[in-house]
């Protein structure tokens, strides 16, 4: 009886260990498939980590001006945290370090019923943010290309 309990505990422990090994340090988004042609200078083109952060702040500024999408982001609350997570995500998809600590894109958007129109509205905000931050159009397209495959999990409606 006692022995079987121990073996059960052991088994559970081993399972947990295996599961932990299978997961990255953060259980969130991992890199998308390599996006064709994103240059190694992509993060630098945005002005490094600091530049990416500034861009994300501009992105949220334009998102909050757009009635088609601002309510979705407001409902989430804690915009500062959203900006921090997005900065990590954008750096990662541009080929920078993978420090993303948020939920996966599919988990984060599953229940929101995001439409293609709303996704495109964020893309428009992204271009506006690039213009505002004097990031070159071609560099901006690298980021759009890197985020584009997320349409498949973000747009659910």
């Amino acid at each position: 009886m006692k022995r079987s309990k121990i073996s059960l505990a052991l088994a559970t422990g081993v399972t947990l260990l295996v599961a932990a090994a299978a997961q990255p340090a953060f259980a969130g988004e991992s890199k998308t498939k390599p996006i064709m042609g994103i240059p190694s200078s992509a993060v630098a083109d945005f002005g490094g980590a600091y530049g990416v952060h500034n861009w994300v702040e501009s992105l949220f500024y334009y998102i909050m001006l757009d009635n088609r999408i601002n309510y979705i982001f407001k409902e989430f609350g804690n915009v500062d945290r959203q900006i921090a997570l997005n900065t990590q995500l954008e750096q990662m998809v541009l080929g920078g370090p993978n420090n993303y600590q948020g939920a996966s894109m599919s988990a984060a958007h599953a229940d929101l019923g995001i439409t293609m129109t709303q996704f495109n509205a964020v893309v428009e905000a992204a271009y506006n943010a690039c213009e505002r931050n004097e990031i070159k159009y071609y560099a901006c397209n690298d980021l759009i290309a890197a985020l584009a495959p997320f349409t498949r999990v973000i747009v659910t409606k």
Binding site: I38, R68, D142, P149, T151
Partner: protein, 348 residues
Amino acid sequence: MKRLHKSGLRTLQCAAILAAGLVSSSAWAGIYNDGKVLLTGGVFTVDGAGGGGAVPWATISGYETRDGINGSAGFTYVNLPALQVSFYGVNVGLFDRVELSYVDSRLSLNLPNLQTVALVADAAGLDVGTDAWNSTLGMQTYGVKVRLFGDAVYTSDSWIPQVAVGGLYKDNRNVALIHTLGADKTKDYEIYVAATKVLFPISTLVNVTARYTSANEDGLTGFGYCNGGSQTDCHNKRKVRAEVSIAHLVAKNTAIGGEWQQHGSNLDGRSVNVAGLDLSGLTGLLGSAGLGGLSGALTQKKEGDWYDLFMAYAPNKHISFVVAYLMFGNIAVAPAQNGFYFATHLTF
């Protein structure tokens, strides 16, 4: 024929009113959509389909996403040394899946040699569908396009393009002039398959289209050909022809690029037919009119492929402008037709 033309105009008006109704009526408010990103629906081709200037793309015209519908109207003016063409049209995009289009075009010939034929034929009492001061080829084009699969913009992690299939039905009004130019049919259909992809790393849209057609000059001078200056030995062999559009985005609202459209050789080296007479009869007439040596001028040159270089500018989602330089090669009896193209595309 005039009545047909009027009904065409009426169709245009109805479509415009319908489109205007869609925008204003609150009942449609839920289904109206302009959610596409700027310029990603393409502009208005001379065939009415969404695409570049001459080449239809796999994109569905208008700014709607799969969430709704959108419509547009287009006007294009082409100015070449020997002819001018105006295109007026409307189209509607449904749920980024289906596109319906209509275009009315008017090609005005400005050819001294054809006008001479007209004068002589007039003197001889023959109807060749042209008069000395007004030789207009009118055509109506009805189109439908269906997106089969793919997303031209957002599948940046694969090579799969957006692919659509489309059909066009073209109906020329000036039957006599089309036959004078030696074509077999004045109305015919075309089928095309288009593949479009935006390559973000080079900010460039690439489109390849294969069109199954027998058109002469996009159908503006009819379809197929007839041998021997009569309408008895006629052929309308459709073939697959290639078309390519490349548009480089220099900014989110500005594209520059070029197009190539392969053309056939149906009318190459054929004489202008005058009401079933072969040219020997006409040269007799011309000779007696003191215009011998004109027969060479009435032999149609090798039809050139269409090339163009364009710049498209969309200041907002309601209007865009395209200017282009066209290199159309020889058209009918007119050699080396290079000129300009101006188009505007109004999106609701």
